[in-house]
């Protein structure tokens, strides 16, 4: 069978005009779409209100499905019972080995607290804003966004860091009333200042878009990264509080290396929204105020 062919109009003026108008409308659609893309490129939060309006409706649905998924997942604890005796022996040995380290750490901790009290160092305490779940993500787009099941009503605001139990997940990008959009660590436009736990080497962790991170040295030239080096947030920049685990290096390299994020945003677990580490600076005084 030959497929039906688009719009043969014949001699009817009416049919000819309606076909013509449909093509004009389509052409206008293409141009308007391209303009919207340009607008989004220069001003990304331009259509946040529209997007979060739709998210208000879809997030409860996602959240319901998420509950079903959690209910249907087999508990991972079952397999722990196999070879239990060997595991217990290994754990006992590990406990004994690490006893000395723990004792030393406790001493250092106490000494640290005493010295801090002497210095009267003022610690910024990262207070949590809300604990919620990540319910879905932009699974069909090259960007890495996730939707958090909490919004303005729960006190979530753009720019706040989001972390999971294992490490940093990302930061809040747009907020709706009850849902907000999170920029994940692995997005190609995400940049996090980090430092190495071993020696405090400063570095920058930027997302690659394929689930891994690029970690580049920010301090010394020709810095060596070793496989297994762990990086935590440094607190530079004011968004992310210091000492949240970020990533572990996957291969030996110099200056720039591939990192695997610690946090798994797809874990059936909670995400913790915290306040931005340092509040945003007040706007500079205008000319009229200065007079």
């Amino acid at each position: 069978m030959a497929p039906p062919v688009a719009s043969r109009t014949g001699f009817s003026r009416r049919a000819q005009y309606s076909v013509f108008i449909a093509y004009v409308a389509a052409g206008v659609g293409v141009v308007v779409g391209a303009l919207l893309v340009l607008l989004s490129a220069f001003d990304p939060p331009a259509f946040a209100a529209l997007r979060s309006g739709v998210a208000e409706i879809t997030t409860p649905i996602s959240s319901g499905f998420h509950g079903l998924r959690r209910a249907a997942t087999v508990p991972g604890g079952l397999t722990d019972y196999f070879g239990g005796a060997d595991k217990i022996r290994a754990l006992r040995k590990q406990l004994a080995d690490e006893h000395a380290i723990v004792m030393r750490a406790r001493t250092i901790n106490r000494e640290n607290a005493r010295l801090r009290a002497l210095l009267r160092a003022r610690d910024v305490d990262p207070t949590p804003v809300v604990v919620a779940r990540l319910v879905n993500s932009s699974g069909s787009s090259a960007r890495r966004f996730a939707t958090l099941n909490a919004g303005k009503f729960q006190g979530v605001e753009p720019g706040q860091p989001v972390r999971g139990p294992e490490g940093l997940i990302g930061r809040v990008l747009e907020t709706g009333l009850n849902a907000s959009r999170i920029l994940l660590l692995t997005d190609a436009e995400s940049i996090v200042p980090v430092r190495r736990t071993r020696d405090g080497l400063p570095a920058i962790a930027s997302g690659r878009g394929d689930g891994t991170l690029d970690i580049r040295s920010a301090g010394s030239v020709n810095a060596a990264f070793r496989r297994g080096d762990a990086f935590v947030t440094s607190g530079t920049g004011g968004i992310y509080p210091p000492n949240i685990p970020v990533a572990r290096i996957m291969t030996d390299a110099r200056d720039a290396a591939l990192g695997q994020p610690f946090a798994n945003p797809d874990a059936l677990d909670f995400a913790l929204v915290q306040r931005a580490f340092l509040p945003a600076l007040p706007p500079p005084p205008t000319a009229t105020e200065a007079k």
Partner: protein
């Protein structure tokens, strides 16, 4: 004015209802990203576009050529692509298919599948260029996404065919 009573002698649903059903099916397909998974790479196919292509390639009279703009706007609001990318690329795709229709007089399912695969590839790469910087390492995963999407076109065509068949069945 009330709608005319449906005939007992087997009239299919009206052309307007058929278009609305088709648009509804495409909008449902665009809802795919709300599945409760936080993906670390893009692997979900643009199912709204697959369904739109399936309707268009089934019969050009069902959806008008400008339908890509409103349906694309709905998809953009859900997918995380920059707003406007599906608006323009989906509409442009429909225009190109209209042009192809006058060139390729005789096409079978294999040609439909090829057209759909090319359209999906153009859309995903276009949206990638619009959304992420050129230095991002996403081209490999997008290639996999294109293959997944192209492999799912027969499913979309089957779904549209099934829905359309129910509407056109004499009642």
């Amino acid at each position: 004015m009330t709608a005319p009573r449906p005939s007992k002698f087997g009239e299919p649903i009206s052309a307007r209802r058929r278009s609305l059903v088709a648009a509804g099916v495409v909008m449902l397909g665009s809802l795919l990203p709300i599945v409760p998974v936080v993906a670390s790479i893009p692997y979900l196919p643009p199912f709204g576009l697959l369904l739109l292509l399936a309707w268009r390639l089934r019969n050009p009279a069902i959806l008008p050529v400008w339908a890509g703009a409103p349906l694309g706007l709905w998809d953009d609001l859900l997918s995380g692509q920059p707003l406007g990318s599906a608006v323009s690329l989906w509409t442009a795709t429909l225009i190109v298919i209209d042009i192809l229709d006058h060139r390729l007089v005789w096409r079978t399912f294999w040609q439909d599948w090829m057209i759909a695969a090319i359209a999906v590839a153009v859309f995903l790469f276009g949206a990638r260029l619009a959304s992420t910087p050129l230095t991002a390492h996403v081209d490999g995963v997008i290639l996999i996404q294109i293959i997944i999407a192209a492999a799912l076109y027969p499913l979309a065509a089957r779904a549209c065919g099934r829905v359309d068949e129910i509407g056109q069945r004499p009642r």
